[in-house]
Amino acid sequence: MLKLPIYLDNNSTTPMDPRVLEAMTPYFLEHYGNAASRNHPFGWQAEEAVDYAREQIAKLIGADPKEIIFTSGATEGDNLGIKGVYEMYASKGNHIITATTEHKAVLDTCKHIEKTGGEVTYLQVKPDGLIDLKELEAAIRPTTILIAIMYANNEIGTVQPIREISAIAKKHGVLLFTDAVQAVGKVPVDVNKDGIDLMAFTAHKMYGPKGVGALYVRRKNPRVKVTAQMDGGGHERGMRSGTLNVPGIVGFGKACELCMQDMEADTKRISKLRDKLETELMKLEEAYINGSTEHRLPHVTNISFKHVEGEGLLMGFNKNIALSSGSACTSASLEPSYVLKALGLGDDLAHSSLRFGLGRFTDEEQIDYTVKAISETVIKLRDMSPLWEMYKEGIDLSKIEWAAH
């Protein structure tokens, strides 16, 4: 039986896998020791659990366990990775290259760095959401110390050519940081094959708990160091002080193990559902897919339904389907999604977009329900839309002088 509401906002966060919760529970109630307590069994158990989780996590991304620095999540990982490199390598230069479609945790970190005297180049993306590799290479200066480009985008799912990017970084002796929150656990990420020097990711986007993440910091070829951003007990090899979130870390480890084990089957099943959703919704007139369909995460699609406004659209079914929109009205800022605008979409199309993030627990019945509910709402709202009426009358909307208000 179909259970409502349906959750299709997995890019925002994923539900926890019950197997993850099961692994975590003893670390709240029985093995509650501090992993830094060296002198009693409680501490030893906690440390052992953390070490094991570190191995599970490292294995998923092809890293050495010593290269995993636990954080509170990806925002902290982004801050620590970028600011940490900026401060540690200050004698080599002060220039960072990133892109306009990065997550706010990266963009705002870069803006902060600019305020403290750093220089940042924000690369534009092509209409499919990918960066231009020639532009990237051309942006490198003698003072460039870091390239920060995300693995996959949170709004449109576009996967950047990370291997080509790392080859360019390597050629010029520049470090590569990537925010891989949306990619790790969903697609094969291998820090060595991909040539990544630093990488932020988080448990709650891969069926693990909220409040725990990791920063991968390369130890060999080259050995990378970051300046700690919090002072304290010198945990995590001095890079991130603070008592480790043992149950969270245990859950993170389990989540990684499950992703590794289920990735192939999950991807096959979920991408089939995504394709069905997309194909059915694209049968509506004037529907457009945003971002590359070729280089894209298997569980994501982002579609604009022209002449209907995103928030109005969501209201037609948001009691029963959890989705997000690039519309301004769903945010406090009244500005539509900067990611969609960076693709060159007009504000009108950005206002009309829906983001679908499928997941491990999405099934076909849910997709069928969603297709029906969205199609009906789009048609209903277009009947109510003056823009749709004008479009149907053949009026060129771009030629109208709209009264700004």
Partner: protein
């Protein structure tokens, strides 16, 4: 974001959705907002020449639930009012009736602008001067 019940009701059962003949002398059309801003309202009134009463009102709106509810409510209020009465409708009336949160006040402003714009269109068509309104400063 939690909507008030009244907004939800107007969204689910909008009143007076439709189109009047914009070329008719008795019809005033107001088209306000812009696609780039995420809301466009078209409000139309049909006026009885002899009495100056608004006999019919229709709307079509591209926008969020609050924008749709504001325009639906506007058509309900306008029907049966005289042009002069219609001019007294204030955006805060919408805010109060629909319990709009601060972030949605611009929807009410848009509805007020749509009413004024429709009235002016009707006036100009019938040889009257268009009324100058103080600009509403939102956005």
């Amino acid at each position: 974001m939690a909507y008030s019940e009244k907004v939800i009701d107007h969204y689910q059962n909008p009143k007076n959705v439709g189109t009047l003949d914009k070329n008719s002398k008795n019809v005033g059309t107001g088209l306000v907002g812009a696609p780039e801003c995420g809301d466009v309202m078209r409000l139309q009134i049909e006026v009885d020449d002899a009495t100056g009463m608004i006999t019919d009102a229709k709307f079509k709106t591209f926008g969020c639930g609050s924008a749709i509810a504001s325009s639906s409510l506007a058509t309900e209020w306008l029907k049966g009012k005289s042009i002069d009465e219609a001019l007294t409708v204030d955006n805060m009336d919408f805010v109060e009736e629909l319990n709009l949160p601060p972030v949605k006040i611009h929807c009410s402003v848009l509805a007020e602008d749509a009413i004024k714009s429709a009235i002016n269109d009707y006036r100009v068509k019938n040889g009257m001067d268009s009324i100058k309104f103080e600009e509403s400063v939102v956005h």
